[in-house]
């Protein structure tokens, strides 16, 4: 079976004896051509401009070569993927079909029953509907739009059209072109001027919408002086049989606004996770990315902030954990294109059991971006002698009056620290756990409380068996 599998990865439905019941309302054939792209657009009843944009992007996708840097992507067979599946209102799977390992992880993380089913893709409804409705009324009263992007295109076509593809054009990279050609789902958030959304918006509040898909498209527009915190994904493993996840996230943060975007990525370990996330920050605006990567087989994701007007700020926090068979190649990109801009990047990576974790980042300072400042700090922890840590920071500085610093360290858990904790009666496993938790603390403390709790449990779970 593995030999005939073009991706060469263990497919979950093989590994777990799981058979996909294939109860889709509509399923396009495998592979991608103009006809499939047109079909996706017509199934969705989209306006002509979107159909044309998809086709334009498809043409670019076919012409653009795969990136030759970063993780090995040559084993992705783009012709062996279904690009559009319209699910039967979430009734495709049953709880019994979900692999035991995933169920056990949910239990260990303490995730409520209903949420478990939602995460496993088997729950039709997430039972906090009433909570959701109250929140929804509140947002709507403020003029906040929070929809899945397909609905947004139907209900607010002008806003979508104004911003779609302006932050991440399809020509940006091959995967962005692919996403633009076949996108489906994702979140659309519009925050009017001066509105502060105090409760984080979370993707799973959108209960009746399509679940986060393979090629979701997320857009956040923060009008001047507004604030929003969007939380995507969750700490629990997302059970999926998808082999390729390629999202595009576009964010516009206008004058004086602040946007925070938190992701904890935990795709199952057969997934290629190739995501383009980018924000444009205007005068005195602040963009913050908090990005955690735990799952997937391969992740290439470099959340970016383009600071295009004076006083814009960027803050990027990244934590990554690579275990057996995983290659995590996340990072960050900050572009200083205006005076008095500031950026800060903190990356924490952990590799164990043969995993490969790293940081790849760009700091770019354009001429004229006077008094801009950037600080990047990358720390890596390697927990055994067959794992690997990579750091690839690129700094391109074209302005004299700028200050750019970068620091990185790679080390193992120090014997002194372990010894100290063990001399206080802590077991070796728990000591290791505590040290790793301390290592990622600067990032975890930025998470909403429930995520921080889950994140710590998850790390404990990942760390099991790491000592003797």
């Amino acid at each position: 079976m593995a030999a005939t599998n073009p991706l060469g990865v263990e497919l979950d439905h093989y590994k777990w004896g799981f058979r996909d019941p294939e109860k889709y309302v509509f399923k396009a054939r495998k592979g991608l051509d103009r006809e499939i792209v047109e079909m996706i657009s017509s199934m969705k009843g989209e306006p002509e401009w979107m159909r044309a944009y998809r086709l334009h992007s498809f043409e670019h996708f076919t012409r653009r070569p795969l990136p030759t840097w970063g993780a090995d992507l040559t084993r992705i067979d783009f012709n062996d993927i279904y690009y559009y599946l319209k699910p039967t209102d979430g009734k495709g799977h049953t709880w019994e079909d979900v692999p035991e390992g995933i169920k056990r992880t949910f239990d260990r993380l303490g995730i409520p029953e209903a949420e478990k089913k939602y995460l496993a893709g088997v729950g039709a409804q997430y039972e906090s509907e009433s909570v959701y409705h109250n929140l929804k009324e509140e947002w709507e009263g403020l003029g906040v739009i929070f929809l899945d992007t397909d609905s947004a295109l139907r209900e607010h076509p002008d806003i979508v059209r104004e911003y779609f593809g302006t932050v991440v054009p399809p020509e940006d990279n091959k995967l962005a072109a692919l996403n633009t050609a076949v996108w489906s789902g994702g979140s659309f958030i519009y925050v009017p001027a001066g509105v502060r959304v105090e409760i984080p918006l979370q993707a799973y509040f959108r209960i009746n919408a399509e679940k986060a898909g393979q090629f979701e498209r997320t857009m956040i527009i923060c009008e001047p002086g507004s604030y929003v915190h969007y939380v995507e994904g969750c700490t629990a493993p997302i059970y999926t049989t998808d082999l390729l996840h390629s999202a595009v996230v576009e964010i516009v943060v206008k004058e004086g606004a602040r946007c925070r975007y938190t992701t904890i990525q935990n795709w199952s370990t057969n997934t290629y996770n190739l995501v383009t996330k980018r924000a444009v920050a205007y005068r005195d605006a602040t963009m913050e990315w908090v990005d955690g990567n735990i799952g997937s087989k391969v992740t290439m994701k470099y959340p970016s902030v383009y600071m295009v007007e004076p006083g814009a700020r960027a803050e990027i926090l990244s934590v990554v954990f690579a275990g057996k068979g995983q290659h995590q190649d996340p990072g960050a990109k900050v572009v200083h294109a205006a005076p008095d801009t500031q950026s800060s990047v903190v990356s924490k990576s952990i590799a164990r059991e043969g995993g490969r974790a790293g940081y790849r980042g760009l700091v770019k300072v354009y001429p004229g971006a006077v008094r801009s400042k950037s600080a990047v700090r990358c720390d890596a922890l390697i927990l055994d002698d067959h794992s690997r840590s990579d750091t690839y920071p690129y700094m391109e500085i074209e302005e004299m009056d700028a200050s750019v610093v970068h620091e990185a360290t790679v080390s193992k858990v120090s014997d002194d620290q372990l010894f100290y904790l063990m001399s206080r009666g802590v077991s070796a496993g728990e000591a290791m756990n505590m040290i790793v938790r301390g290592f990622i603390e600067p990032v975890v403390k930025e998470l909403p409380l429930e995520y921080a709790v889950e994140m710590n449990r998850l790390i404990a779970l990942e760390m099991e068996g790491s000592v003797g």
Partner: protein, 438 residues
């Protein structure tokens, strides 16, 4: 004035050169194999886009250059006078003019102990047993990239240093390379073998004519530091602005308990792209790597450093300092690579850059690839402008702004310059930095 052979570089160029030099068959055969690789390979921007994309070679065709045909009348570089006055501070001196050896000397005590210090063309004829197994002998060499193949096909001149087991050469050996011929290319190759427990210092000075059409240098330095040996190597480069130095390499192989200290100073050249590598092959090997680069005018400087840890308990420590002024552009990329099994590694890398003008650009890319866990690796990079407070302090002491700026830049380079052997070379370099500050 020296003139080059017309017609550019062809297979016939190599045939003629091999015959003229009366080279052994094995040398000739290697040249021809490398030429085949050169003809087969596209430019490195195609084969190595990640490491070559930051320096644009434009339409430059290495095959269009000529080889210099003689040394008569070649104008002499300024530093030759500087070095000549420093005879009491060196153990030996060799001079290469326009790809040919123009004289060498080695102190009698070193000769008696079996030290060899001669041009490589002579060494391949007279000491094949010492040269054959180490000269560009790594399997990958000719195919590493197109300029490396070209170098292997056409190397001319360059120095061979051999220090027998246990021998210490007390004072530095100095090698100077000068290209006076216009529009020509040189491919100097330096090969140094320091046998077990020996000690030697080699200083190489490179310069070329200050005017005329573009010239090319694609050189290589191979340093073999055997068990317990200690080698110090310094390359000081002040090519004329017409020079493009492309694809050059300084590669050290450091065995068990041995130590290599390398130092690279890049002041001249229109475009300079050089790799500096220390391969730590034996337990407890160590390497210190220092560098200074100062780009002014429209200079392009692109340096890549590799700290390659292949054995346990080895250490490497790199410090590269660069400044850019006017519309100059610098690239420093450094990689610490720790192979599986290289436990107890200590590896450090620091790159600092000063941007002295609007319009100058500095890229810094310090990289880590770590495949062992019991180690300590750190790197740091900082890029900024002249510290206003320092300038203000000096000006408040009555020092004019220009002088203050020079003093700060001189101080910025001082900890590397201070380690260059030879007081006259050091003061000469300071003067050159002062000239570039104007």
């Amino acid at each position: 004035m020296a003139r080059g052979s017309p017609g550019g570089l062809t297979r016939a160029t190599i045939e003629a050169q091999s015959a003229r030099m009366r080279e052994p068959d094995w040398v000739h055969a290697r040249r021809m194999a490398a030429w085949d690789a050169y003809e087969r390979l596209p430019m490195p921007a195609v084969t190595h886009p990640q490491t070559w994309r930051r320096t644009d070679l434009g339409t430059m065709d290495p095959g269009e250059f000529c080889l210099p045909s003689g040394t008569e009348g070649a104008s002499r570089p300024r530093f030759i006078g500087t070095i000549a006055r420093e005879a009491e501070q060196r153990s030996g001196l060799i001079t290469h003019l326009d790809g040919g050896m123009a004289g060498s000397e080695l102190e009698a005590s070193a000769v008696q102990q079996g030290v060899l210090f001669l041009d490589l063309a002579t060494a391949v004829r007279d000491h094949p047993d010492l040269v054959r197994d180490v000269l560009m002998a790594t399997d990958s060499w000719p195919g590493e990239h197109r300029f490396r193949s070209l170098h292997a096909a056409l190397w001319t001149g360059g120095t061979f240093v051999y220090v027998p087991r246990g021998v210490e050469v007390s004072l530095p050996l100095v090698s100077q390379v000068w290209l006076g011929a216009r529009g020509c290319a040189i491919f100097p190759h330096t090969l140094l073998v320091a046998e077990e427990e020996s000690r030697v210092t080699l200083v190489e000075l490179f310069a070329s004519a200050t005017d005329g059409p573009r010239t090319l240098c694609s050189g290589a330095v191979e340093l073999f530091v055997r068990t317990g040996a200690q080698v110090q190597y310094a390359a000081v480069q002040e090519w004329g602005p017409a020079m493009w130095e492309v694809g050059s390499l300084i590669r050290g192989h450091v065995d068990r308990g041995a130590s290599l200290r390398s130092l690279v100073v890049v002041l001249g050249g229109g475009l300079v792209k050089v790799d500096v590598e220390s391969h730590l092959l034996g337990a407890g090997a160590s390497s210190e790597m220092l560098g200074v680069y100062f780009g002014t005018g429209a200079q392009r400087v692109d340096l890549h450093a590799l700290q390659d840890h292949r054995a346990p308990g080895a250490s490497s420590d790199l410090l590269y300092r660069g400044a850019v002024k006017d519309s100059a552009r610098s690239v420093f990329s450094g990689l610490i690579r720790v192979e599986p099994g290289a436990q107890k590694t200590n590896a450090f890398q620091v790159n600092r850059n000063l941007i002295l003008s609007r319009g100058a650009r500095s890229d810094s890319i310090p990289m880590l690839e770590i495949m062992a866990d019991d180690l300590r690796c750190t790197h740091g990079s900082a890029t900024s402008h002249l510290d206003d407070e320092q300038v203000f302090y000096l000006m408040s002491r009555g020092i004019p702004r220009k002088r203050a700026a020079f003093m700060i830049v001189e101080g910025f380079f001082a900890d590397v310059f201070d380690r260059i052997p030879g007081a006259r070379v050091r003061s000469y370099l300071r003067a050159r930095v002062a000239e570039k500050m104007i």
